[in-house]
Symmetry: C2
Subunit: 250 residues, 2 copies
C-alpha cells in the first residue's frame, strides 16, 4: 500500500490572502507540486519542495504524472487556480483516476476548495450571483458549440444570471460575441454585463456595460464575464463604483 497522497488544491483567483488555511497547509506538506506554470510561480517553496510546471491544455497528462508520483509514495500537490472543482483540475484528475490503473483508485486523494473566479469577481462588484445562476464554459474544445447555445438560451430564458468561464481565446475568437448576440434576443438591452479581469491581482480591471453595448474584445483569457438576469440591479454611488446585485426575490 502506497503512503503517497494527492491533494488537488485551489489557490484562489490570485492574491495570496485569498488562500484558505487548509490550502496553505496542503501546499506546505507536499514534496512535489504540479500545476500550470503561472500558478506555481505564485508560490514560495521550501528547500525540500520541487515544482513541476506544465503548460495549460495538458491537464490529462499533468494529472497522470501527479497520480503516478503519488502512487510511487510522494506527497503530491496538484495546484489549481481558483477552485479545483470549477473548470479546473479536480475533474481532470477524476477522469484519470477512473481511466487509469487500480493503483490510482487506491490512493489517498484530497480536494481542497478555493475561491473560484466567478465568486471573487462577484464579490468585487456587489452580488450579481446573489440569486439563482448558471455557470458555463464557453469553450467548445471538448463539447459542440450547439450544446453551449442550447444552455445559454435555456438559462437566460428562465431568469438565471450567467457566469462564463473561458469566454475567449486566440483559438476561440468568436464564441463570446455569438453568445452576446443570442442573449440580446432574450434579455433586456440594459441587462448589466461585468468583465472582471485578473481579479485580486495587481492588474485587476473591472468594466461594467449593458448587454446592448457589451463587446467581446473587452474580454481575454484572464477575464470572467458575468451577465445579470432581468432582475439584476445597478446602484450608482457617488465617488464609488456602482454596486451590481441580483436580489434575493429574483
Amino acid at each position: 500500500m502506497s503512503t503517497g497522497k494527492l491533494s488537488v488544491i485551489g489557490i484562489g483567483p490570485g492574491a495570496a490572502e485569498q488562500l484558505t488555511g487548509a490550502a496553505r497547509e496542503g501546499l506546505q506538506e507536499a514534496d512535489l507540486l504540479y500545476g500550470y506554470g503561472p500558478y506555481l510561480a505564485r508560490l514560495t517553496l521550501a528547500a525540500h519542495q520541487r515544482a513541476v510546471p506544465s503548460d495549460n491544455r495538458v491537464e490529462a497528462q499533468r494529472a497522470r504524472h501527479a497520480l503516478d508520483a503519488a502512487a510511487e509514495g510522494y506527497r503530491v500537490a496538484m495546484v489549481s487556480g481558483g477552485d479545483p472543482g470549477v473548470f479546473a483540475m479536480a475533474a481532470a484528475v477524476c477522469e484519470q483516476i477512473e481511466a487509469g490503473p487500480e493503483s490510482y483508485r487506491q490512493l489517498e486523494l484530497a480536494i481542497v476548495p478555493g475561491i473560484t473566479a466567478m465568486l471573487a469577481a462577484a464579490a468585487a462588484c456587489g452580488a450579481p450571483l446573489g440569486h439563482d445562476f448558471c455557470c458555463l464554459s464557453l469553450s467548445d474544445n471538448l463539447k459542440p458549440w450547439e450544446v453551449i447555445e442550447r444552455r445559454l438560451t435555456a438559462a437566460a430564458g428562465c431568469g438565471l444570471a450567467l457566469a462564463f468561464y473561458n469566454p475567449i481565446s486566440t483559438a476561440r475568437p468568436w464564441q463570446l460575441g455569438r453568445a452576446f448576440e443570442l442573449l440580446r434576443q432574450q434579455l433586456p438591452a440594459q441587462t448589466p454585463v461585468i468583465f472582471a479581469r485578473a481579479i485580486t491581482r495587481p492588474d485587476q480591471r473591472i468594466r461594467v456595460a449593458t448587454l446592448e453595448d457589451a463587446r467581446s474584445d473587452w474580454a481575454d483569457m484572464a477575464t470572467m464575464v458575468i451577465v445579470g438576469s432581468p432582475a439584476t440591479r445597478v446602484v450608482a454611488r457617488d465617488g464609488r463604483s456602482p454596486l451590481i446585485y441580483t436580489p434575493r426575490y429574483a
Copy 2:
C-alpha cells in the same frame, strides 16, 4: 464623511481552516460583528470586539443595523456563512444600500469571498460540479414555486448539473420531493444525487444515491443537495468512498 466601513465576510462552510487570510483579517479589524447567531458562535473575539447575533430570516433588518453602525463610524463585519455572494448576506446588504439613505451609498463597503457550501460539498466527493452547472435555491419564500419548477426543468433539460441551496425546512417540507419528481421525468434513473450535510464540520455526513432512490427526508436545513447531469460519473474505489465527477466534455 464617515470613517466607518462595512465588510461582508464569508467564513466558509464551517471548519476554521476553510477561512481565507483576507476573511481572517477582515474579522480581526472589526469593532462590531453582526450575523446569524451560530455563525458568530464559531468565532473567537478579541476584548474590544462585540458580537451582535440575530436570528435567521431577519436578513434585511440585520443588514440595516450593520449599515447604520458603519454609517456612525464603526468598523463593522457582517459575518456570512459560506460565500456572502451565494444565497447569503451580500445581496441582502446591497438591497438595503439601494433602498436606504444616501449615507449607505457613501460607505466604504468590502465583500470578502468565502468557500460556499456547494463547492465544499463538491470537493468532498470529487468534482460533480466540474462542468457546466446551475445553482438554485429551492426556497419559495421570496419567489413563486412555478419559477423554481421552470428553472429546474430548463436546467436539467440542457444537461446542467444542479446544486440546491435551501432544499428543505419545517416550513417548506414538500419542495425537495417535488423537485426530485420533476427531475425523474427528465433525467436517467441512475443520475447520482449527493446529500452533503454539515460539510467540514465535526458532524459531516455525505450520502450518495441515485435519482430513482433519492428521498427528500435525507436532507435538512444544513444539507446541500447536488444532482448530477446525465454525464456525471461514479467511480467505485475499494475501501474508499466513491468519487463522483462530471467530466470536462460534459
